[in-house]
Symmetry: C2
Subunit: 418 residues, 2 copies
């Protein structure tokens, strides 16, 4: 007798039903489920690694890049880290039921705004199997059902990791449907998932521009896009140049492949002659390729920068570099070319720092700190489900509270409106 595979719509309907139970679960049950997931991951590591070997083999055969192979690969340490991530999220306070604010109205009505889960959160991701657990733990802790759709390159790993987590969660008292992995990794499943109006409350894509474009072309349910990070470091005329050097090197090279790495350096003309040669030497030592404008190239060797460089999110050891005549010119450059993620100023001038912060329109602004600090775990959110560069609902690192909404609860003694 053939067992038919449930459709995406059926999976989402089951997730929606589960979400109604999850929304009312106490924190203790949710936390116990996350701890059970963590233990099960550790216990069943051999199964997970075996599945991962099959994905790696298929990846080698299909010629996946070294970078993708690295993101796909699991070992005991990485599985243990996934488990540890779930434990850390269990230890965070439960956002559900938090009274955000409230008041007593002049007529005596008591009003409170209470945090509630969104319902069903779908996460679409590429390559890295650890996202399965990060996303599931954040969603479940915040009382949401989670629907996962990984990439086909990680399908064996994701299937086993999701199965291990689902079984542990259900044994610990979470309802069936609370954690679902959509089997197919194709574009049809994506389109079906992205059009489950009334069942899916939010989709979060975690992946490259191709994934986002595919999603935005079809989605009718709400989506929060983690936009790209074309992050800037501006070295002001008053900057401590030693600090500036540390920050530029850190922002560019500490982990160049992530969205909060710096992609453009802007240097005030007054300090260009002093700073640029030092910066160029330190960056070249770390294999950074500079793409400079004409004024930069008067001081240091660099590839000639074009508009494409100002617009680029390199995610590599490349850095666009420009000289500006003022803080306002730096702001104008960032407003024109930036992606609204994170910008940093290095300055000793308090007025300059205030002006920089207030003139920009980015999710995060750093004063005398590396752009790399825009990060959920740095901010103490536990794992993050993404960094939002949009303005509605969530901006910056998204943790538990960004997976919630609120309800107004109004209590009276038979109050009517006059």
């Amino acid at each position: 007798m053939a067992i038919s595979t449930p459709t995406v719509a059926e999976l989402c309907r089951s997730a929606k039903d589960a979400s109604r139970v999850l929304a009312r679960l106490d924190a203790a049950t949710k936390d116990a489920a996350l701890l059970a997931i963590a233990s099960a991951l550790v216990e069943r590591t051999p199964e997970i690694l075996e599945a991962n070997r099959r994905d790696l083999e298929a990846g080698r055969e299909s010629g996946l890049s070294d970078a993708l192979m690295d993101r796909l690969a699991l070992d005991e340490r990485r599985v243990a880290a996934m488990a540890e991530g779930a434990r850390q999220i269990a230890a965070l306070p439960d956002p559900v039921g938090e009274v955000i604010d409230g008041m007593r109205l002049p007529n005596g009505l008591d009003v409170r705004r209470v945090r509630v889960p969104l319902g069903v959160v779908a996460v679409v991701y590429e390559a890295r199997p650890n996202v399965t657990i990060d996303a599931a733990a954040l969603a479940l802790k915040s009382g949401n059902a989670i629907v996962l759709r990984g990439s086909s390159s990680a399908r064996h790993s994701n299937a086993v990791v999701a199965d291990v987590a689902r079984e542990a969660a259900e044994d610990a008292g979470l309802p069936a449907g609370a954690l679902t992995l959509v089997a197919g990794g194709g574009r049809e499943e994506l389109a079906e998932l992205a059009t489950q109006d009334g069942l899916v409350d939010l989709i979060i894509p975690r992946g490259g521009e191709g994934l986002k474009a595919a999603l935005s072309a079809v989605a009718t349910v709400p989506v929060i896009y983690a936009a790209s990070g074309n992050c800037h470091v501006y070295v002001d005329a008053s900057a401590d140049l030693d600090a500036a050097l540390d920050i530029v090197v850190n922002a560019k090279t500490q982990r160049p492949g992530v969205c909060n790495a710096a992609e453009t350096l802007l240097v005030h003309a007054d300090v260009a002659a002093d700073f640029l040669p030092r910066a160029a030497a330190a960056l070249r030592e770390r294999d950074v390729v500079l793409h400079g404008d004409e004024r930069v190239r008067a001081h240091v060797d660099a590839v000639a920068a074009t508009d494409e460089d100002w617009a680029a999110e390199y995610l590599s050891l490349d850095l666009a570099v420009g000289v500006v005549d003022s803080l306002d010119d730096a702001v104008a450059h960032i407003r024109r070319w930036g992606s609204g993620h994170t910008e940093a100023i290095v300055t000793r001038d308090l007025a300059a720092s205030r002006r920089f912060v207030r003139s920009l329109d980015s999710a995060a602004v750093m004063v005398n700190a590396s752009t790399r600090f825009t990060d959920g775990s740095q901010f103490g959110f536990g794992a993050e489900i993404g960094i939002s560069t949009q303005k509605l609902h969530a901006r910056g690192p998204m943790g538990l509270t960004e997976l919630t909404s609120s309800t107004w609860v109004v209590t009276g003694d038979g109050h009517v409106r006059g």
Copy 2:
């Protein structure tokens, strides 16, 4: 020499430029501008009423309904109320610059989340010219530029009201472009406005389902839809039936044409025989037509209710009425048919009130109070720009803070990530 009318895109570009100035304006300048708008409206009332007469005349000729004519009509009292609304919004605290939260990280970095304007807010509305001022005052107070697009039936009124406000605002120091009325009221202008990605940060439609459908078909910029209000009152077995009667009558009849009016009454079977005849008598006295299920019709005369009645947002003196066997059945009915706006329970049982509040998924839940209290001015927000029934960004009445986003500001002493 012909002066060419600026395109919608040009108007939005100018609004975007203005928004950058507005974002940094101090509260005193913004408040002075709102007070200047209020004074100008009062001073120039004759011009406004003259323009309104032209719209009313055109409305009569084209056969506008009495209800629409009433919404369109201005008189001295209504203009004075618009001015008073602007003054009240001026008196509210400035949301911009509010530190929402913040912390010192273990590494010594100081992190704060600061409230910032969205940028450019577009409001699309029908008939009522007072929305021009409500929307403009809320947007400007929260540091946003506002782009207004009214309906063609109010074009003369809106043009003069917007002109009066714009001139007063600019004289008081707001930048050109801060307040813009899109001249044409056609679908092309709507489509152009709704696709200004990067210029318009949010569109809020204020109008009927036709407007929302037109917008959702074309919009690529973020939209917050004020969904319809199919609001329920559930009379529990333990209800104080006198209070229940007052609440049902108030929720249905105090202002039947608005989204927080009740559309369905659910009565627990234990009190149906006692409550329904009293409720029916009181409601009929106020010309309410009952649409009841079979069990209701065993107690009182009513039109037979169909699924269309359970789904309806009547906005009229009609009420769907059903008998349920339990609170859980009431919740199941509301979950199936409701629109997620506002539901009320009348009960003396604390456990029942808790269960009702926690089982529903609506923007507001009333305990022993009329559904009519879901309202920005009742909640003390000043005028509201709409009531959101979506879960992301804003839920319930939208005031000043719902027209803002936030920025993370991180300050260090040369901090880099290890």
